[in-house]
């Protein structure tokens, strides 16, 4: 008759009868725990004293799947493009929005073209790294960690977070919006960060003091995942409280796009993610490093409509984000940068798409940029042995400038090297603006 007896009523002999472990085995159980190193240790709000002394904010937008650089920033004067891409080139070249005599933005990047005209868009051409990997996962890891040798396990912004920011009381210092897991870019064993998929559902539901109850359970959790669980919960707890305050203080001042027009829906709601990013920035939650993702760029087939769609979606969401920040008077400290694991093969395939490639452009948007084209547009006639574009700018040059100039961090310490300077950002942190 133990069926309805709660644990507290169970007597010792009942455990025995119920076949529960006891006796010699229980010694081990009651002993409880043995020491293990934290495999996924995180410092819960580890206090850092060397927090960076500026108000600058970075938003990274991942274009997941491998964005076609030749359909983003189009070499409109190059006849070779038509030879390589009879189907894909014709339409896009004619409709492109010129930014220099030889380069035009994808026809659907209208908002970005306006930002270019306003001096708020920089394009870095031909960004890549030596001996490129054509694997989504390897190349994504290279970009995430900033290490083409794949030895580094932590993300470049995760390391920035862990090494530079005082996250005590600021669980939102690093935040991934519009995803359920921690993106590789922000990953670091010592970084505390928040992940918010859907703002509407980010908070505990249920009767009573769920927060308090769960908070009491996720404490000193043993095992290799223990620290990760405890930190995730503590971070969630604080982020939820901060967000509640933020939500009431924020009103969007631009119209974010909707995804309904996408032929091939993206898993990631970039518009919602950027709107959340804006809310976090506008309401002064202490956010510094943000990451959002737009998927669907692996355009092996019928690329023409798919890629144009994605460009339109990116353009709408990003333009709205900028307008929203500007309308709130918050745009001057915010830099947006895109990244993608690779570009695509210059030669199109028989499915009306393109296979995995190498170098592609990085777009930088915001008041902090010095508008212009940096790096070299890769040659379409001097392809490498795999038929891919050769890079002219190491992607770590872009990271270096963001770290040193925008965030005021020590890029050499974070990247473990020094790379060619580019100059797409205005004055370095702390320096007077150029006359």
């Amino acid at each position: 008759m133990q069926d309805r007896i709660g644990i507290n009523q169970l007597k010792r002999r009942d455990f025995l009868r119920a076949g529960l472990v006891f006796g010699a085995g229980a010694a081990g159980l009651a002993a409880g725990y043995a020491a293990v190193p934290d495999a996924f240790a995180r410092a819960v709000y580890a206090a850092k004293t060397n927090g960076l002394g500026n108000d600058n904010i970075l938003v990274m937008i991942q274009l997941a799947g491998g964005n076609d650089g030749l359909r983003t920033v189009i070499p409109i004067q190059d006849p070779a493009l038509h030879d390589l891409r009879p189907k894909l080139a014709a339409m896009s070249v004619g409709a492109a929005l010129p930014i220099t005599p030889s380069l035009g933005l994808n026809q659907n990047l209208k908002g970005l073209k306006s930002l270019w005209d306003a001096g708020k868009l920089a394009v870095v051409e031909g960004v890549g790294y030596p001996n490129p990997s054509y694997s989504h996962f390897e190349s994504t890891r290279v970009w995430e960690t900033g290490d083409p040798t794949l030895r580094q396990v932590d993300g470049w912004l995760g390391r920035t977070l862990a090494q530079n920011y005082d996250s005590a009381g600021h669980p939102l210092t690093g935040c991934a919006c519009g995803t359920t897991g921690v993106p590789g870019v922000l990953q670091d064993a010592q970084a505390t960060l928040t992940v918010i998929n859907d703002q509407k559902n980010f908070g505990f539901t249920g009767k009573g003091d769920v927060k308090g109850q769960v908070g009491a359970i996720y404490k000193n959790t043993p095992g290799i995942y223990g620290a990760l669980f405890d930190t995730a919960l503590a971070t969630a707890d604080d982020a939820v409280s901060t967000l509640k305050t933020a939500q009431s203080a924020y009103r969007a001042m631009a119209s974010y796009s909707d995804t309904t027009k996408l032929v091939y829906a993206s898993k990631n709601q970039l518009d919602a993610a950027l709107q959340l990013a804006s809310e976090l920035i506008v309401t002064g939650t202490g956010v510094k490093l943000l990451h959002v993702t737009l998927g669907g760029f692996d355009t092996h087939y019928t690329e023409l409509t798919r890629h144009d769609d994605l460009m339109a979606y990116l353009d709408q969401a990003l333009s709205a984000f900028y307008q929203d920040l500007a309308a709130h008077g918050k745009s001057k400290n915010v830099l947006v940068a895109t990244w993608s694991e690779f570009g695509r093969r210059p030669k199109e395939n028989a499915s009306g798409g393109t296979d995995h490639g190498a170098a592609s452009p990085v777009l930088l948007v915001g008041d902090p940029v010095r508008s212009g084209v940096y790096g070299q547009a890769p040659s379409l006639t001097a392809l490498d042995s795999t038929g891919n574009l050769r890079y002219s700018v190491d992607f770590r040059s872009v990271y270096q400038e963001i770290l040193n100039t925008h965030l005021g961090a020590d890029a050499h310490e974070i990247l473990g090297g020094t790379y060619e300077p580019l100059g797409f950002l205005g004055s370095p942190v702390g320096a007077p603006a150029p006359a």
Partner: protein, 497 residues
Amino acid sequence: MDVTSDDVMDAGRPAGPRRRPNRRQVLGAAAAAGAGAGVLRLLGAGDSQLASLQALGAGRDSTGGRLDWVSPLDQEQAQISHLLRRATFGADSAELAAATSAGYSATVERLLQTPADPPPPMPGGDPTGPLNLGQLQLWWLEHMLNSATPFIERMTLFWHGHFTSDYQKVGVQTPFLHWQNLTWRDMALGDLGTMLSRVTVDPAMLRYLDLGTSIGAAPNENYARELMELFALGVGHYSEDDVRAMAKALAGWVEPRPTGSVQVTLDKANQVVRRLPTYAQPSTGVFVPRRAYRGPAYQLLGKTDSWTTPKALAQVLAQSSTAGLIAGKVVQSFVGVNAAPAYVARLADGFRASGYDVKELMRAVFMSPEFLAPASYRALVKSPTEFMVNALKAVGARNLGQLAAQSAANMGQALFAPPDVGGWPHNDAWISSNNVITRVNFVSQLLGRVRQLPPASDIARHLDSTVSPATASALDAAGDDQTRWFVALASPEFQLK
């Protein structure tokens, strides 16, 4: 089963002996807790036990290291619970009782040998035309909950993460994803060679990785690359030339032809009606010789030949890295992280020697000392699907599959919608602030909808009577069964397997 190997996992685990309070301390703690104290409190952390742990640094040892679970896997009862948590979706009382009376080895054999309990038809009959994604997801979740062979469902989920496909690219205008699920279940414990043949010509896969539009004259590399990188060889075991050669070798397949059509209203308000294809029965892709590559012989993975699809897939199986890639993925999903390379190599050797028989591989895994070693205990994080199905079974709510279906996306695992071609994430990647909240909220909702909870004494079994001091205290402090179940299912312990 005699388990002595403490060092099968070569990282993230202590090199030296484990710290355990001695037996007298422990018994003292038990005595102090006294008769009538809660089982978890007694076994997990009585007050004085808590004190002794705090003396160790409240969950950290004197060197600052975190404390680990003490494995109960030296006892058969715990071994069986551990097995069923990993090989199925956790056991309810009846399943556990049956397995316990059969014993560990016999239970392993039963899991391996029982033919798959086929899923019921989808509501309204198996679709011949367009699919309803929500219905498809729910249909599978309900079968995970109710199937007499949940091990087969667990393996089907494993292959859905390995040979993955995403509804957003495949689309739901055809029944292809439903067919794929049936095929993956049917081949779940078969041999890898047959699997690769079936996967290559699976209509949903033909769409997902574009093989269905590839032609020999200008091949699409998508499937060829992922076949080698993700499905079989692993990165570093083929060259870019091999990717191109494989794409040539496999070109020529197209989707099956529809046998009819059906009028479907896509948008009622705007009266958008479209005619969509129907298919009398599930079928595979069709090979069209004139679409294939028709040039001279060429080299693929070190051998020159006039390659055909069967020859190319045989060449994949002939590569030494293939067995290791599959064995490594199985270990990551069923045994632990950071497995010793020698362990994976041993499993791979056996897998290859068996003619790539997945049943043999799974038997080798479940019967290996490493599977039951202390380092394997709670070494894996349940995926959202495993967590939800396990929770529903634990509280006897097999009728609430809908709750799992609607909660899945915000936990990161909407079925048929993997994040990318790499399939589902693993272990630590499932833990984030977002996912802790969504898992806890799922528990709240679930408990709000269960009319009669099982006795709270069941909890000890679900948690192997091995809980942290914090969880033990919360269970002790709980005033009613609803709260006890909340603590149990929301606890970190229940997220682990």
